[in-house]
Amino acid sequence: MRIAVSFKVTPDYEALRQVDWARVAAGGGAGGAEARAEATRYVRRVFNVFDEAALELALRLRDARAERGLETSLAAFSVAGREAEPFLATLQALGFVVARVDAEGDLDFAPAATAELVAACAQRLVGDVLLLGERAGPGDSGAVPFLVAEALGRPCLTRVTGIEPAEGERLRVTFTTDDGSARATVPAPCVLAVGNAVVSMLRVPTLRDRLAARTEQAAVLVASDFAGGGAAAHSGEPAMLTDLEIIDRSRAGVVVGGATAADKARALYEDHLRARLERL
């Protein structure tokens, strides 16, 4: 079985301050790419959390198949610039064949163009099973897995949280539903979009693994290598980003102050609880 995983490297949004988020929001619209890039340029990069889960699930599937004497090859690729290289090196050390596709342009909020490249790369890497995260980054539409599956002509299962080998070259897939979770047996080829999996963090290769993998270079492809070449970015999108707005998730509240915990508890009781308790 040949498993390919498409992943994205994103800024570590947890490290952004409020003022940086405001700059990200100011980069709404297709023309705001430079503003968004500038706002996030100086934070470190991390795997997109859903893609990271997909990568670890792929490794666990390989291990589970190996226990059954079944062979599996793993490939991982990213539509990205050089910022993806440390991540590709990590994946090589874990046993993935790796590649990156230089998009030659901004593909943020351009799901159709992204999906076109992802699908083309998956076909080039000849993956029977394509795994990817169900979405990436704040404001992401989550459309890419569906568009990729459509381009590849494969069935797509979303909100995937677990993957195990089944009979033959089939897979037993666990996925989230509105009521809980369910399982389905899925034949290859297929596209699996990974959601909120409990297994969400990638294992870590040893330094010896990294040294052993260092001789291999990641394949670097450019968008124009593929038919269509991603030229549809933004101009061919069915929907255009026009604005980004930070969702205010703060809740109305009062900070109860006091010099000590006892003072704060007294203030909480006197100012906020006593009257309510008396009314009960």
Binding site: Y42, R44, T260
Partner: protein, 480 residues
Amino acid sequence: MSLSREAIVEGLQRIVGPEAVVTDEKVLVESSVDNFRKLQNIFDVHTLPVPAAVVLPADAAQVAGILTWANENGVNVIPKTGGTATEGGLESAVPDSVIIDGSAMNKVISVDPYNMQATAQCGVPLQALEDRVREHGLTTGHSPQSKPVAHMGGLVATRSIGQFSTLYGGIEDMVVGLEAVFPNGETCRIKNVPRRAAGPDIRHIVVGNEGALCFITEVTVKLFPYFPENNVFLGWTLKDMKTGFEVLRDVMVNGYKPSVARVYDPGDAGVHFSHFAEPDDCVLLFMAEGAATVAKATADGIQAIVDQHPECTQVPSKYIETWFNDLCWGPDKILAEDERIRQTRNVNRTTEISADWSTINDIYQTAKARILDEIPDITMMGGHSSHSYINGTNMYFNYFFNVVGVGPEAETEKYYLPIISIICEETLKRGGSIVHHHGMGKARAPWVKDEYGSSYYMLETLKKAFDPKGIMNKGTIFPI
């Protein structure tokens, strides 16, 4: 004959009242360890003796009562406040210990902007004190990574250091006066004066005692003016640590005091700076702070020094500023790290030492090479220098390994202690100190005599004098 657990609880309840004595089993089990057994904590595996009780005294008088009673009855006590210790100093090494938790003593007693000092009880979180003094436009200057959760008593007891120490000093430079209670119940107050030469400086008996001599109940620390608007960030990449150490030395010897002065080796730089550093790059970084003219002069001086090293390539300061803004570890980051460890069984550990300029690079290179050669399953091995002095610097070894083939309870034996052993050996061979700022705890106590040499006599005599019955935190500093 030692007291039973029930008798211990009754004895404590008579002193502080039942509501201040905790005997909940879950609390007792969790209180038997500190971050030295991080992996065991995460997997809820507990192998150490369970304390008999956690007691929360309300004031120094109750601490004196507890210690007097414990001394009379031979009960081992473990002083604790924030619980962020990393070297096993808070572990209950013997059965039926009592944890004296000072976190209920959490008042900021005074903030004195005119005399530039603040007084806080031992259970005040450093972040809380820092927030209080910031209201006056001041700072404690003390910023260990544990700032959001560490408490003042523990910070003084472990002789802690903060990320801005090159400017503000370590805790030993910040403590003005303090109050501490000794095993015989004697409560001693060292008054707040700017300096004194009335015999030896007895603050240093208490600062760094790690609960092996006394219980710290109150501290007074210096305050400093706070000018964050003047912060200047500088950063470079370079290819070798030796050059990095040389630059740090030049900066210190020429009298500059940046608040942050660090050089990261490629392994450690890869953890933090892979978005601008190549895989084989070291990263050299500084922050200058203070009054505008001071910050500028410091930054200009450092720039001139580094400009003499063409092998250093400057990077936009925003990279360093962004890294700086994300430095401290609050409960959210700690929980996220716990989850990462739980899923991957990949553990991050650190060991910090100090040495003079002529030996630090040798210690770093040799220890690192030995660890890579002798220890299995290493996923990252590196480190950085982060606290420099005119006569040397520290080396903060930072390393990750996968725990393979053994349970969490065996992680320290298979990986952590062998690595600590290599670092301590290579440091001692070259005359360095095996502990720069984390404290000896119980983890490095086996090397205490090698660390002190002939001066061990002085340390041992302090222990015999103040804790003749050996009830204070058995196993910490002095191995059992």
